[in-house]
Symmetry: C2
Subunit: 331 residues, 2 copies
Amino acid sequence: MSSAKPTIDDVARVAGVSRATASRVINNAPGASGPLRVRVHEAVAKLGYLPNEAARALASGRPRAVDVIAVTCNPPGGWLGSNPYYSRVLAGMMPLLADAGAQLRVHALSHDSAPEALDEIAAGVTLGAVLSDVTPTLAARFHRRCRRTVSLVPTAATVPAMVADNIGGAYAAVTELHRLGRRRIAAIHGPVISSCAADRRIGHLRAVEQLGLAEVSAAAPFTREGGYQAAQQLLAQHPDLDAVFVACDLMAAGVVQALTACGRRVPEDVSVIGFDDSVAASCTNPPLSTMRLPVEEMAAAAVRLLLSGDITSGHRTLFPAELVRRQSTAR
Amino acid sequence: MSSAKPTIDDVARVAGVSRATASRVINNAPGASGPLRVRVHEAVAKLGYLPNEAARALASGRPRAVDVIAVTCNPPGGWLGSNPYYSRVLAGMMPLLADAGAQLRVHALSHDSAPEALDEIAAGVTLGAVLSDVTPTLAARFHRRCRRTVSLVPTAATVPAMVADNIGGAYAAVTELHRLGRRRIAAIHGPVISSCAADRRIGHLRAVEQLGLAEVSAAAPFTREGGYQAAQQLLAQHPDLDAVFVACDLMAAGVVQALTACGRRVPEDVSVIGFDDSVAASCTNPPLSTMRLPVEEMAAAAVRLLLSGDITSGHRTLFPAELVRRQSTAR
DNA sequence: GCTCTCACTGGAAGCGGTCCCACGCGGTTA
DNA sequence: TAACCGCGTGGGACCGCTTCCAGTGAGAGC
């Protein structure tokens, strides 16, 4: 018994057929049949043959792998550990990829190294790439080098995208707070560099304007600490605020803690509404009302599009955000 | 300008050298030098050449990719979205992989499909594989097919592993509760199938025995809901419990909520201590004391080992768990 | 001045597949 | 019966790159 991995040639020899026929049978392609199929399958089983992905990729020009790319602050990958959002992206993709027998490659980049790294990734992309947190500029650049790209964040119009209705979601959240009778509604936005944060800000402003409210807001990174500090600051400037719209659940968790620390009761004194419906939302006390984004569905749709292959430039599907009422906005 | 991707042949032609020389320069290998190096680099820049990974992998027999494998309940990937633990694993690996120019492939399997799927993955593993949530049996099977494997969970002795001291951590947690004067300490364990959960249970039992406490415990899945229900059940059976050791922060978040819902104050009436120090731990109210596992460091160490290449069967590094004191155990 | 090194360089053989194409053979149609 | 068709099959040319090996020329030693 040789310890070297069996190749398709070994299979062909054992089965007594040509390499071409073996390939056809293994790939379940037409043009081979009956007894030969059986013999090849037997040979495969006997040898424990498993095709070499690299060779397959090279020969066919279309290996089966999907790339997920996120660009964030240093260190690369830092985001992954701290924000459950990204896990949901991966989770949404896995079942489909598993069914398709495709692999998932994860790339985490930092802003400074992103441009060249993106080019490199674009060169290696096979089935397609999903951009999960990339600035519009970078997304466009990437898309120029690799057409098989789908973005999960608002981006240049040319890049196909499966995006959440961040504007509408933020609008709905503020409206809900207003509906609850809140009038001194503050907002905590995400970092300016994030296009999601930008859209949520737009939705907030639109609602504030339409409802005739005063605009009170602060910005912070998408972390619990960021939310905590922003809330403290906001509370110092506007001690009478009675509601906070927070652009991310993780921040919102910090906001609830800050409010509690400052003697405000949630939801009696201050209503809080988050965004994302991440695991953190249900872990807070009281549990957070939030705008649920169908992240998994969006990611799945992106993969489905990539697997289908017919990706039309400019395609855009908008996924609505759904209000999840929990205790932080109970009256 | 042809739209076809340039190949190394194009580079060689433009640079006026042979393909072999171009390859040497591009791979920074010895045996080519001086003016030729410059010319090749110029050609690369001019053409925007980027090597084809598949071809490289095939020709050299050693592509650069690390596989991360987790086996969980259906659907495959479900775990990823709901438990921040796994994100930390990926986050810990990314910086090292980025430096090494290696790719990260993520595989999520469900229990029923795992055995065959694992064999297939093992055949494709290149730099190595990291097992992040696999039963000892499956881990051993995988390791038999692929030596370049490191486990992040307790497993068969032969499989190299970077594991957390779950036993010691659980022991320390219970001891801490005892130190705080708690005597009616309950425990909520994870699912029996998880070897981490099993070890944490062992640590708990050891402490309980040594401290002469009564053993009170329940088991639940590693989710907030699981923790909530287990806590309710425990509370019904033992209304006088004054502390809970919970084998996972996500469950612990549910426990805190259940305690609050049942009129217990945390930490005044009941101390709660979690495990993992995941994002959820700091989002709860009050924030959770917990046993911090250096997940990122463990994952990084695993990658470092794989990149170094000298993986000795049976290698085992134990990472201590560190008590993080937060409000849920304040006195 | 003529070998002998030695550092470079290019030719060419794979790596393990996919897939085009030519070939042979039994069965129709003229 | 001859030309024709089509399916199943095998031969062999690639895919893009690495790497072995033989060849080349310049410099050194005799």
